[in-house]
């Protein structure tokens, strides 16, 4: 065969693309959604957080501490739109809970305006607008305390909306045990769009050069930041053979946290509970679906708190805690041993299957399939750690994709430099939600707000 014939054959063969290519947009969509959820779980009780940082530089002078009625203030419609996705924030705005700031700074053609703060003891939502030239992009946002140290908090945000009149939210979730400070500085940095594009798509993700930086000194009204309603519960429950203690419910204006202690003698690790709250008017408060939704114990194995939409602004004196299901992994089924020759993994959680296992070069690729109750929803089936002959290693990367069946997704793992002579184990992170045969409803009473 001559070269021309080879070329024609190669060209013809290129018309057949692998089936996985059809799901490119689905995978990208899942990745975009995942980033927009902004770190759903705290896996460990960390004492410090790395600020995720949006670049947005605004300098704000000290602002008055008094919160006025929102109807007196501009861009209220924009604020209402900005919180429409968050039931607790929506209620806060409806109850005049937001604090108007209204401080603007302009550098060249870049203008940022801090419009509102919604603050409680452990969370600050900063709502801001921005107009900028196309040549600039938001690089990062950072938050500092009065000593110029990074706040011990997670900072997250979505894609910048620079349309006129629209607000963006930068959310600061304080670290465990940390309270919102009386004052903090929000610093936003911008870089040139071309430079940022090259840095993004070029050889490496190089740090961008900041061309504009603005800092705002913000002083949230502490009257609101110190208010927490605590309902002591201290109720021991047996859920599907596992003992847990429901310690208390902390209700903040923007969220509620149910604190849980799992018995160390349980024969399973508890990964989640299907819970919701109900007030005496029949209003439901569902688990949080944006931002942080749960925290885990310091050993990362058992649930330690679940975050729920807040009932703070309801006038109810009595709440009912409903527990409909439990998610757990039996301790003796925590690990799955990989048998590459047989194409199997032991102790697969119910609903999980090995769809494919293959070597590519020196690396072992594993595709795990899982059914989900929620359409187009993915979650972590395995932990980041795996084990080679009991040596703990970490996956460098992983991905999950949905396909034609919106209730099914695939988690893809890669074990680098797979050594067939060693024993490899995955650590399961998932157990299916088991519906309680008899769902529980526990009546709890509100106490006076504590400070």
């Amino acid at each position: 065969m001559n070269r021309r014939q080879e070329y024609n054959e190669l060209l013809a063969s290129m018309k057949n693309t692998p089936p996985e290519l059809s799901f490119t947009m689905t995978r990208v969509q899942a990745r975009v959604r995942k980033n927009q959820r902004n770190n759903l779980l705290w896996k460990t009780a960390l004492s410090s957080f790395v600020a995720l940082v949006l670049t947005f530089v605004i300098t704000v002078n000290a602002v008055p501490r008094v919160a006025f009625a929102l109807s007196d203030f501009p861009v209220l419609g924009s604020l209402v739109r900005a919180v429409s996705f968050d039931p607790s924030l929506k209620k806060a705005v409806e109850n005049n809970y937001a604090q108007y700031v209204g401080v603007e700074k302009t550098v060249d053609n870049l203008t940022v305006k801090i419009e509102y703060l919604i603050v409680d003891a452990q969370r600050i939502s900063v709502f801001f607008s921005c107009t900028k030239p196309d040549s600039l992009v938001l690089d990062n946002i950072r938050a500092f305390d009065k000593n110029d140290e990074h706040l011990v908090a997670g900072l997250s945000y979505g894609s910048l909306n620079d349309e006129k009149g629209e607000l963006n939210e930068a959310r600061i979730d304080m670290g465990e045990g940390e309270l919102v400070p009386e004052e903090f500085t929000l610093t936003l940095s911008f870089s040139k769009a071309d430079q940022r594009l090259e840095a993004t798509v070029g050889d490496k993700i190089a740090p961008s050069e900041t061309v504009s930086e603005l800092s705002f000194l913000l002083t949230p009204d502490t009257k609101y930041t110190r208010t927490i309603e605590t309902i002591e519960i201290n109720k021991e429950l047996m859920l599907n053979g596992q003992k847990i203690l429901i310690e208390r419910l902390d209700i903040f204006p923007t969220q509620a946290k149910l604190l849980i202690l799992c018995d160390e003698n349980n024969d399973a690790f508890i990964k989640g509970l299907d819970i919701w709250l109900e007030d005496d008017k029949g209003n439901r408060y569902e688990p949080k679906s944006n931002g942080i939704t749960a925290t885990f114990s310091s050993d990362n194995e058992n649930i330690a708190s679940l975050w729920i939409e807040s009932s703070y602004f309801s006038k109810t004196k009595v709440l009912k805690l409903h527990i409909d299901g439990i998610q757990m992994i039996a301790k003796d089924r925590l690990f799955g041993v990989i048998d590459y020759q047989a194409g199997t993994i032991s102790n697969l959680p119910k609903g999980v299957s090995v769809e494919e296992m293959f070597m590519q070069g020196k690396n072992l690729h594993i595709k795990l399939g899982c059914t989900s109750d929620t359409p187009n929803h993915t979650f972590q089936i395995t932990s980041w750690e795996y084990y080679r002959n009991d040596q703990q290693l970490s996956f460098e990367g992983r991905s999950a994709t949905t396909g034609d069946d919106e209730y099914h997704f695939v988690e893809m793992l890669e074990i680098k430099n797979y050594d067939g002579a060693s024993e490899y184990k995955l650590k399961w992170n998932y157990g299916p939600m088991q519906t309680m045969e008899k769902p529980l409803a526990i009546k709890i009473s509100k106490h006076s707000p504590t400070q």
Binding site: R3, R4, E6, M14, T17, M25, R196, V201, D203
Partner: protein
């Protein structure tokens, strides 16, 4: 699904196969090519607002993909996962299947062949994507075809 993404999808779907062909011939590996396409599409989505001239979407996304492929190729070579051909030895190309011979070409020649002869782009379009003078594209194209012993029509 937000509006930006809804508009982005059909534009990307239209050129997805072309992107895959580029990545596959560049990286000589199906799974690496799929990952490169995923990464490029994701980066493009994240930066879509920076594209000031929407009519250049294909050029822009192709450029992103090529940079992703370059980065991936360096990683593969570093981890010795990419066949370590010795580049440039004329006589070595003759004995290789065409696909392997293309993979053996120096990167700056390989990408020209991929864009011109496997994605049907003109010299002008190729020059635009690679930000090169048209003369440079034409020169490299001739050299690449000569190394491959492949006679194909010019523009």
């Amino acid at each position: 699904m937000n509006k930006t993404f809804a508009k982005f999808i059909p534009q990307t779907e239209e050129i997805k196969e072309s992107l895959y062909r580029i990545a596959y011939l560049y990286l000589a590996n199906e799974s690496s090519a799929l990952e490169a396409v995923d990464e490029a599409v994701y980066q493009a989505y994240r930066n879509i607002k920076k594209l000031r001239q929407p009519e250049y979407f294909k050029t822009w996304l192709t450029r992103i993909l090529i940079n992703v492929c370059k980065k991936e190729l360096r990683r593969l070579k570093r981890e010795k996962l990419f066949a370590d051909f010795t580049e440039g030895q004329t006589e070595d190309y003759d004995g290789l299947p065409l696909k392997d011979a293309i993979a053996k070409l120096p990167e700056e020649l390989r990408i020209i062949v991929i864009l011109r002869y496997f994605n049907d782009l003109t010299v002008v379009q190729t020059a635009e994507i690679l930000k090169l003078p048209q003369g440079t594209v034409a020169t490299r194209q001739r050299k690449a075809l000569s190394l491959l012993r492949l006679e194909l029509e010019d523009d």
